[in-house]
């Protein structure tokens, strides 16, 4: 086993995802600490430009271009990744704790008998080896874990766990012609991508989230306008999803998505524990609620106690001004 660090890059609309750039940034730091090389894998179809972007972070970018990788599958993409991991034999593999990451990495870890740590949020490189930070019980507890020193480790991180560093000098790009092995028991009949073009909820820097106090589905248009203005996304609490005002894809909380944007604004939501567990790691939390005793204020950095329907138009105007200034 080498001491190299390898980042598995995920792409969206033929560009590396922000979450992957974060991993390349921390990966570069790790590799320099381990006096080793940062490797990156860009595999898919038509991702030449993405590989070029990635090469400005990684020492070596392993690039696999194959039309049968256009659609993700644990079988096809997994066979390619397995081959690369066997050939380059890195000590640490970094991936994103995304829908794809959660589907792919455990299978590869089982295949390679690698230590698997999922859904981590940070890393401590100050001591010997590495300490991985992983929240448990919806963030009530932070655990620090270490993979056994002699074992290959696969670690997945939540988006927004690290800051994206500046691109550096361009490293080497190695084109690998790896055979793609599909599983004959799996056949994709159709795929439907809904949110293409929009940033994913978990990757968004800005989230404005509505609760039951938004009163009706159509009132979420106000939140969508603000989210679009800020290049972010609209989220929703569980009661909103249960009332069918928004789709499950937008749900933030224990039974939905865990998010940690730079700025989270909770509108007319009380702050039930299962919701808090899904957004508590946001950098800055703002709560807007007319009830000064709403639990959400216990978790917020800033609060506005007022009617959300009076606040939102003013908020939109003010945010628009700051956008125009910059």
């Amino acid at each position: 086993m080498t001491r190299d660090v390898l980042v598995v890059v995920e792409c969206k609309d033929a560009k590396p995802r922000k979450a992957s750039l974060e991993l390349l940034s921390i990966g570069r730091e790790m590799a320099s600490r381990f006096s080793s090389t940062l490797l990156a894998v860009v595999s898919g179809s038509g991702l030449k430009d993405a590989a070029d972007t990635v090469a400005h972070y990684a020492g070596k970018t392993i690039f696999v271009d194959n039309p049968s990788l256009a659609e993700y599958g644990w079988d096809t993409c997994g066979s390619v990744l397995e081959n690369i991991l066997r050939k380059y034999d890195p000590m640490v593999v970094l991936g994103t704790s995304s829908v794809t990451g959660k589907d792919l990495f455990p299978r590869i870890a089982a295949r390679l008998s690698a230590a698997m740590v999922s859904d981590a949020v940070g890393i401590d490189l100050t001591g010997e080896g590495m300490k991985i930070k992983k929240p448990l019980y919806g963030g009530k507890v932070i655990s620090w874990l270490a993979p056994k020193a002699d074992s290959k480790a696969i670690v997945t991180f939540r988006p927004n766990s690290f800051t994206v560093a500046d691109a550096g000098e361009k490293g080497e790009i190695i084109e690998e012609a790896v055979a793609v092995d599909g599983n004959p028991a799996m056949r994709i009949l159709s795929s439907e991508k809904k949110t293409s073009g929009k940033v994913d909820l978990q990757e968004a820097d800005f989230i404005i989230c509505g609760g039951r106090g938004m009163k009706a589905a159509e009132n979420f248009a106000m939140l969508d306008e603000i989210a679009d203005l800020m290049g972010g996304r609209t989220g929703a609490s569980r009661t909103v999803i249960d009332s069918k005002w928004r789709e499950y894809d937008d749900q933030i909380g224990k039974s939905g998505k865990t998010v940690s944007p730079k700025l989270y604004i909770g509108c007319a939501l009380s702050g039930a524990l299962h919701h808090i567990m899904g957004m508590d790691t946001s950098r800055v939390i703002v709560a807007i609620n007319k009830d000064p005793n709403a639990p959400i204020f216990q978790y917020a950095d800033y609060g506005i106690v007022d009617d959300v329907f009076a606040v939102l138009p003013a908020l939109k105007d003010e945010l628009k001004k700051t956008r125009e200034e910059t």
Partner: protein, 263 residues
């Protein structure tokens, strides 16, 4: 047809978690429930049985003795049999070990379909489903929102993928991890609860099951838990002053820009 369901008993959202003073262990308040996403798995198994009739549903947990209670809940819902593989004095921090044990049980029992939740609410790792499938050498689909057994040993499956949905055809045997939206888990009826009280739940020693998928002893764990700590708290909230909503918003945006520097 044999349907296996893997269930995890997890701490309730409201349960208090106490970190020991040496930061090496956790004490969880005795409030446990069936993992939220595993309820969809149990419900789906019951629906498959209602549809195809000749189906046996077996639920299994690799857990300490206390999980018998959660297994009883699944019987009360409509599962036929339940087994507890006793994890006391075993390693449960390494998902590979948990998965080897469950895969060993599945291999011994035999199965056509394996169902589990998409992830556990306590660690949110989402590892065990795909790992078990890998050990068993069967295909899997994660985050399933619709499952139809189509006959001819196949299933048509709708699942969530990055930013969308996918429909696939999968040859059985296969493993599916269940996502919210798949179904509405039923609340057990009193007759089900009565039956669950009377059902014998066998407790198995992992050593009694042949496990050809790799070591399961504590030394084989590839993960070391170094310590636990409480999350960093936030300073208390600053409520924005102002005579009108507009003024409050102006103060907020100024604070977000100048102090918090997030705009």
């Amino acid at each position: 047809m044999k349907v296996l369901v893997f269930m995890k008993q997890v701490a309730d959202t409201e349960a208090r978690i106490i970190i020991s003073s040496d930061q090496k262990s956790l004490e969880v308040e005795n409030k446990y429930v069936v993992n939220f996403f595993d309820e969809f798995a149990v419900e789906e198994a019951i629906r498959i049985k209602e549809m195809l009739k000749d189906v046996e549903i077996t639920v299994c947990a690799f857990a300490p003795q206390r999980a018998v209670e959660a297994l009883r809940t699944t019987i009360a819902m409509g599962a036929d049999r339940a087994f507890l593989i006793n994890s006391t004095d075993r390693e449960a921090d390494d998902p590979l070990i948990v998965s080897r044990v469950l895969a060993g049980f599945a291999r011994k029992e035999g199965f056509d379909i394996v169902l589990c939740g998409r992830q556990a609410m306590d660690d949110e790792s989402a590892n065990v489903g795909p790992m078990v499938a890998e050990f068993l050498g069967i295909p899997h689909v994660s985050q399933v929102t619709k499952l139809t057994i189509t006959g001819g040993g196949k299933a048509e499956v709708e699942s969530e993928i990055e930013g969308g949905k996918r429909t696939s055809e999968v040859s059985l045997p296969a493993l599916f991890t269940c996502q919210k939206g798949l179904n509405e888990p039923r609340v057990p009826l009193i007759t089900g609860v009565m039956r669950a009280m009377k059902t014998q739940i066998d407790v198995l020693d992992p050593a009694s099951i042949e496990m050809p998928f790799g070591p399961i002893d504590r030394e084989a764990s590839k993960i070391t838990v170094l310590s636990y700590e409480a999350p960093a708290g936030r300073p208390s909230v600053r409520i924005m002053e102002g005579a009108s909503p507009e003024e409050k918003v102006q103060n907020l945006v100024r604070a977000l820009k100048d102090e918090a520097k997030v705009l």
